[in-house]
């Protein structure tokens, strides 16, 4: 871990993410106003000492909405990736361990899922289920587990030929014991990298969905829908689009930097 933090970029990423996590946790204490409080006479006020980042078309404080939006965006990012990791690891380990027709079947499923452009897959699912924060987390997770499945399967394929696994088999350990005690813990390393990168892209996906009006439903603020609501006042109220845009950019970048750092750290020569 000490080595990881020597990587300057990864360190910057981790630092920013730590701040964001802090903001998300302390949102109720940090936000100067109620993020849902409508105040029509103050609609579209530019940034000032009263409203640091201005107000939106309904007169709500943009800073407060962004702070609460951090919560929504991070939570959606982490849980979506959690769902993807659980599904992906399960499918990957089963395919890799049992092999044969089950492996072929599951890998064709992965290929099929990957052959859909994920954004269309998402839009199709969102059109059927009722969009809420929870469905969005699950839907993003369910459409992004394929990479994890491939990674885990590849790891398991090499792990199951290793002596300790063969030994466990020889001693009569059950399949579930081998999978849970020996394969999964050893296959999970590369998944961490994928997951870190995945959180960034899940946040981006949530923003895209909310920007299209299919994500987090009003009045709950998320970065994507603050951006979406600001679009109608483009040129009149720059703070509504620029600031959430920068937030998304910085966060996704931070996750990517951290993920890349993690990858380098894991691939460093073991002493």
């Amino acid at each position: 871990m000490a080595n990881l933090l020597k990587n300057h970029l990864a360190r910057a990423g981790a630092f920013i993410l730590a701040i964001l996590a802090l903001i998300a946790t302390l949102a109720p204490w940090l936000a100067p106003y109620d993020p849902l409080a409508v105040n029509l006479p103050e609609a579209l006020f530019p940034p000032s000492s009263v409203h640091w980042l201005g107000t939106d078309p309904l007169g709500r404080d943009v800073l407060s909405r962004l702070i609460y939006g951090t919560r929504i965006s991070l939570v959606i990012g982490f849980i979506a990736v959690g769902v993807a990791v659980v599904i992906g690891s399960a499918i990957g380990v089963i395919a890799g361990f049992f092999g044969g027709w089950l492996d072929s079947l599951l890998m064709r499923l992965v290929d099929t899922m990957l052959s859909f452009p994920s954004i269309f897959l998402l839009l199709a699912i969102i059109a059927i289920v009722e969009p809420s924060i929870y469905t969005i987390m699950i839907v993003i997770g369910m459409t992004s587990w394929m990479g994890v499945a491939r990674l885990v399967r590849a790891e398991v394929l090499s792990l199951k030929e290793r002596e300790f696994v063969l030994a466990a088999k020889g001693l009569g350990a059950s399949s579930s014991r081998i999978i849970l005690k020996h394969l999964l813990p050893n296959a999970i390393g590369p998944v961490w990298v994928a997951a870190t990168l995945g959180v960034g892209s899940a946040i981006l996906t949530e923003s895209i969905l909310s920007y299209l009006g299919l994500g987090v439903q009003p009045p709950t603020p998320s970065w994507g829908n603050i951006l979406n609501e600001g679009r109608i006042a483009l040129g009149l109220a720059w703070w509504l689009t620029l600031i959430p845009g920068v937030c998304i950019l910085v966060t996704v970048l931070s996750f990517n930097l951290l993920g890349e750092g993690l990858r380098e750290w894991m691939h460093r020569p073991h002493n």
């Binding site: 849902l36 409508v38 029509l40 609609a43 579209l44 078309p57 309904l58 007169g59 059109a127 009722e130 969009p131 009006g213 299919l214 439903q217 009003p218 009045p219 609501e229 679009r231 109608i232 006042a233 483009l234 040129g235 009149l236």
Partner: protein, 529 residues
């Protein structure tokens, strides 16, 4: 009637006396593409706009809201309204050169009442008993009973029999490639991008001055507005925000003409009457008292609208003036809800009845920023009463076909644009509740049913006015909808177009008289093959 149309920001020279010249193109833009271009099947505004330029009805409204002939040269109402005879103009021709005859009118009528044609407009023609083609140019309809909206119903676009006779109208290629008799003829349609129309040289009134009409689809309000400002769009509808805050500058004043007039329609909350909570009139009354319409108009519409008290706007002769827009009365709303059994028994700030909290989902369509904001304000205002409102915004075709048509909603936020005749049989009569029909809230009131039928049967204008005012009043008392507001129409047109007349029916009625002086024309003259 008071003229309520205002014209704003017109450059001083826009009314110059230059002679009309032909040439140039008008680029209009909309956020939604058209879907079906035959008038019988056009049910969205984009399709209606294009079909209106390609086809003609028998009659139309002029700028003073009087009924005048379109394809019809003269018409006669006889037998106490039971018989209606039209004589067609001799020089009306289809775009392929064939004359328009009474056989085409008869054909159109037969298609309107054909149960296999999926038109939402059939109810206005069901009272016709027989049709008689007297000669090439004369046709007579006989009605089973008097039908007051009959004349307006013949503003429906007439279809060419010789081209559609052997076609299934629901699927014919003409839906995407219509041939009509109107001032513009259809040239091409690039789905999701552009519809191109060219001036009809042989149009029976006169050739439109503007050579080409281009209808561009720009699915995003903000992008559309930027395209307007850069000059790639000439005609568009502004949002209240754009009208008040983003077009009030010297550049726009110099290059554009903005218009503002009350639209003939209203925005409302509709309740699903199959839901027992909304069957209780006290609940609907309470909502009407709790929702501050003026705040919505001031905050979301920037004042560009008026509070609505019933289905008819102030400009309609059917409007009932005695109803005062209610002031927001929170205490009374609470009392009404308490009377209906909704009380905050466990003091958690939410109303309950039989242990169930009062919560519902409000659905509306995507792409309309005003509606989204209205939904959020309603949510906020009802929250103060102790009612939890969830908002769900749906893509238009899913919204209409999966939720409205199938009655899968609790409360809906939507708007109606109305025709000039106040007949609202399709919206409020209890028989119009089948899938796809317009009484999707399933409202049923025998008294209103009776009045709607009487209104259709009555010709005497003062008696008719009385009936519709009564309908207006009954609907206000009953609140099948919470009537929110009548928005303003806010079109903007590039300043090089001259002879635009703001009238109570809008600006587009005399489109064929619009022209651009030669020196200001922007698009190359059309090469005739």
């Amino acid at each position: 009637m008071v003229s309520v149309v205002t014209r704003i920001d017109s450059p001083a020279w826009a009314e110059g006396n230059s002679q009309p010249t032909t040439g140039d193109a008008l680029v209009s833009a909309s956020i939604g593409d058209a879907s079906r271009l035959l008038p019988l099947l056009a049910s969205d505004s984009a399709s209606g706009e294009i079909a209106g330029l390609v086809f003609n009805g028998l009659l139309k409204y002029n700028e003073r809201l009087e009924i005048v002939g379109d394809l019809a040269e003269t018409w006669q109402v006889t037998d106490a309204g039971l018989s209606l005879t039209f004589i067609l103009k001799p020089n009306a021709r289809w775009h392929d050169g064939i004359p328009v005859t009474s056989a085409d009118v008869r054909f159109t009528y037969e298609k309107l009442v054909d149960p296999n044609v999926h038109t939402p407009y059939s109810s206005s023609y069901e009272l016709i008993d027989s049709v008689e083609v007297i000669d090439q140019r004369t046709i007579r309809f006989r009605y089973r009973e008097p039908f007051a909206p009959a004349l307006e119903s013949w503003m429906m676009g007439i279809l060419p029999k010789h081209l559609l006779e052997h076609e299934d109208l629901n699927t014919t290629a003409s839906l995407r490639h219509p041939i009509g008799s109107g001032p513009y003829r259809f040239v091409r349609w690039k789905t999701g991008q552009l519809i191109e129309l060219h001036a009809n040289d042989d149009y029976f009134e006169h050739r439109p001055y503007v050579d080409r009409y281009l209808f561009r689809v720009i699915p995003d309000q903000a992008t559309l507005f930027l395209e307007l400002l850069t000059g790639s769009v000439d005609l568009a509808e502004l949002s209240p925000l754009q009208y008040q805050r983003q077009t009030d500058n010297p550049y726009v004043r110099q290059h554009y003409q903005k218009f503002r007039y009350p639209s003939f329609g209203f925005t409302y909350l509709g309740y699903n009457f199959t839901d027992p909570r909304f069957m209780d009139g006290r609940v609907r009354q309470a909502f009407n008292l709790a929702i501050d319409k003026q705040a919505i108009i001031d905050g979301v519409l920037f004042g560009l609208g008026t509070v609505s008290t019933g289905p008819y706007p102030k400009e309609s002769w059917a409007y009932e003036p005695s109803i005062a827009a209610p002031a927001r009365d929170f205490e009374k709303a609470k009392a009404l809800l308490a009377e209906a059994g909704w009380q905050d028994r466990d003091k958690d700030g939410r109303l309950e009845k039989d242990g169930q909290p009062f919560a519902f989902t409000l659905i509306t369509n995507q792409g309309n920023e005003v509606r989204r904001q209205v939904a959020e304000l309603v949510q906020r205002q009802l929250r103060e009463l102790g009612i939890d409102v969830k908002i769900r915004i749906l893509e238009w075709s899913t919204f209409v076909h999966e939720f409205i048509d199938k009655r899968r909603f609790e409360v809906v936020l939507l708007g109606w644009s109305l025709s000039r005749d106040p007949d609202l049989y399709d919206l409020f009569h209890s028989s119009k509740t089948k899938e796809g029909e317009y009484n999707f809230v399933s409202y049923a009131n025998p008294e209103v049913d009776q009045l709607l039928i009487e209104g259709r049967r009555t010709f005497d204008p003062s008696r008719r006015q009385e009936i519709y005012r009564q309908i207006h009043r009954r609907l206000y008392e009953d609140q099948p909808y919470t009537f929110l507001f009548v928005p303003n129409a806010l079109p903007i047109v590039h300043a090089r177009f001259r002879n635009i007349q703001p009238t109570p029916i809008g600006i587009a009625y005399n489109l064929i008289d619009w022209y651009v002086p030669r020196e200001e024309q922007r698009y190359r003259a059309l090469m005739q093959p």
